[in-house]
Symmetry: C2
Subunit: 430 residues, 2 copies
């Protein structure tokens, strides 16, 4: 490994490559015992004392005094906020909303299998009743994230979409109105996760909580797993750009910097197939960095987390990308459709020179809430699937039951469950 002025550079041919690459394979770190204890206490306290505890923690952590009335964002306040947002911005939000809605209008297959003699099996898919949308406060309160989580829920048919956020900007409220959010509460942090999980006097509990938050929120979500449904666990934003010489170095650099400006833990990684592209992209990164409004953040991300990897060929490059399982993957290569076939683990894939990650962040249609930190190995982008549940249906007639009676009883008895076998016999001998 060498270190150019700003970025780590790895070449797959180097002897220490595997060792250095493993350092790039970011996996989640353990949460400190203190944070976990603090969060656990908050969860337990809100579960026990409801509103009172919720409002105490809100005052303590968010410096906001709330009661059961002021915790609710009123319809009037939402309308006022909406009117404050410029027409151009509303139009942009509406265009994004329409595209997100269109992409998520998929049909989820239901099953009906009719057997002989009146037997049938089915699987029924139905929307969740109530979901909670966590929207981070402060600068991380993004109207785009409201659209990207609430619209798939609405399309899935969820009746009640409850949004919580410690600070609500006019843009966030306008997005919530456009997306069809049912209720909005001015709460955040671990205490908001507790309220959504257990319910309080003011806030009804939900069936599932989605949306990313800070370390306290993510820890709280992990702790309530199984008491309430959850989406994926969120981490810092990541991008891997694979580029051959058909790619444009300035485009690759721009995508890496767009990730880098998120926060200093964001991870921008470029995999190139030629030394030429490596050098050109590096120069572009340094040069474009100078022009950025969030230069400081982007620079720290590039220096701390960034890397350029020189791979031998597209097979090696895609193999490395699969091992990273990145949130965003840009295939800036000659035949992106062909390269896509080699990709097995990624949140969202962006093809060719003219698909910046930005277009997926705001407008393309698929949700930008994507698995991070290598979890694309098993988590999927947020989608309508996250807002439905399946239910199995089994129906036998006396005749069809008799047909399989012996085998069912045999397996039940083999496992030592004689009452299970008798529940069949009672019927067939009736």
């Amino acid at each position: 490994m060498e270190k150019m002025n700003k970025l780590k550079v790895l070449r797959t041919k180097d002897a220490d490559f595997e060792e250095e690459f493993k350092k790039i394979l970011f996996r989640r770190e353990e949460v400190s015992a203190e944070i976990e204890k603090l969060v656990k206490d908050i969860l337990r306290d809100v579960k026990k004392r409801g509103d009172q505890a919720l409002f105490e923690y809100t005052e303590k952590f968010d410096q906001t005094k709330l009661d059961s009335v002021s915790a609710v964002v009123s319809g009037e306040e939402i309308e006022k906020a909406y009117d404050k947002v410029s027409k151009q911005e509303i139009d942009a939000l509406r265009l994004a909303a329409a595209r997100i809605e269109k992409f998520h209008q998929k049909k989820i297959n239901q099953i009906t299998i009719k057997g002989e003699k009146g037997e049938y099996l089915a699987e029924i898919v139905s929307p969740l009743n109530k979901v909670g949308l966590y929207v981070p406060g402060g600068k991380a309160a993004y109207p785009s994230s409201v659209l990207m989580s609430a619209i798939p829920a609405r399309v899935a048919g969820v009746k009640e979409i409850v949004m919580v956020s410690p600070t609500v900007s006019p843009h966030v409220l306008a997005a919530a109105k456009i997306a069809g959010v049912s209720h909005i509460y001015r709460i955040g942090g671990a205490q908001a996760i507790a309220a959504l999980t257990y319910g309080t006097e003011s806030i009804e509990g939900v069936d599932k909580i989605v949306g990313p938050g800070n370390i306290y929120v993510e820890t709280a979500k992990r702790l309530v797993y199984g008491e309430v449904g959850l989406d994926m666990v969120a981490g810092p934003s990541e991008v891997v750009v694979i580029a051959d010489n058909s790619g444009v170095p300035s485009f690759a650099a721009a995508d890496l910097l767009a990730q880098a400006e998120h926060d200093e833990d964001a991870r921008p990684i470029l995999i190139t197939l030629t030394e030429y592209f490596l050098q050109e992209a590096y120069k572009e990164i340094i040069s474009q960095l100078g022009d950025l409004a969030r230069k400081g953040i982007a620079e720290r991300s590039i220096e701390k987390q960034g890397a350029i990897i020189l791979a031998c060929d597209i097979n090696e490059a895609t193999e490395l990308a699969n091992r990273i399982a990145p949130e965003h993957l840009v295939l800036m290569v000659d035949k992106p459709d062909k390269a896509l076939k080699k990709i097995n683990c990624a949140g969202a894939v962006f093809l060719g020179n003219y698909t910046p990650v930005t277009v997926g962040d705001y407008m393309a249609g698929p949700s930008h809430i994507l698995p991070t930190a290598g979890t694309a190995r098993f988590f999927s982008p947020l989608g309508v699937e996250d807002f439905v549940k399946r239910m199995s249906v089994i129906s036998f007639s006396k005749e069809s039951l008799k047909d399989i009676e012996n085998e069912v009883r045999r397996l039940a008895l083999l496992e030592g469950f004689d009452a299970h076998a008798k529940a069949v016999e009672k019927r067939t001998k009736f």
Copy 2:
């Protein structure tokens, strides 16, 4: 509420009904701090020391001395086990396997949306690479559960299905062979979850772990959430039987007792629409109880967790069932298809007089690994969906990017991300 000799009886018309019903609404209890600490230490230790720690814990908790060779169940051992199982039992397992496979051969929709000017969006569904199947040891090592978890994984296309179990009976091994399990290891407990999550020298880490276990296993699973994929959180088995006078009291009683024989925390609940059925079913429960091989366990379950509820009509009955969100729901009513339409939350529903839960446990087709403890509000039966992941694909041309350029840039700037906006500009101005 009254208490008949053995069971709690609730009538919805009673003044204290709501209060008593809430006690029935079982929700998960908090795991003790000691168990959590113990499990956390095991996870950390196996992550750090690999095989050495894994084998030490196996010796300590399972009284089994293992090394990297003896931890693996060999192909030869599997064949021998298979040959030991009677032909009739193999036939029964094979029939179950064939039915489970047929039910799970569903198509999961993939999306492709072609836009104008070369734009397109897609969603690709692909199988997980490696999954781990947890199979409890001792008496809870059920061959049926091996079929019910491994077959959906195989149908989904998972390449490597790794099974772990602290004790492997010939029946379990025969089921694993029939189901197409790739590797079997003789390990269990929290240390097995650690090994599957982090990998050790002998055991490769997997992408997702499914299958129920004891409190240590379930705690370990909860703690690794997000480092590895997980299925639902498992709890004691439950059944709700809704019966009107078209139902047969002895069938209802038999289904309740079949749940009750699982373990003393199992929850058998009957909702009847008439006093007549209530009394008849009660008599049947008491009378059938006497004949059971596992009478002691079933009796304790009935006494501790059982209940009969008298509801006014089918609407009230189904509403109560939805609030319980049971793992198994039997609709032993006049028009079960009509009643089914009112059911919103349940794992699996069994229609009419001739569909005992037993048939779903062993043979019907849908997996018997189902959400418990009210989690059917948001979890689904184990299915092929649990063994695939989705990946979004976005592809724009220069022209299609130009069409939405202004809106994308506006939203990026509104959120303060100027590098995001520049990544678009670089391309449209190129």
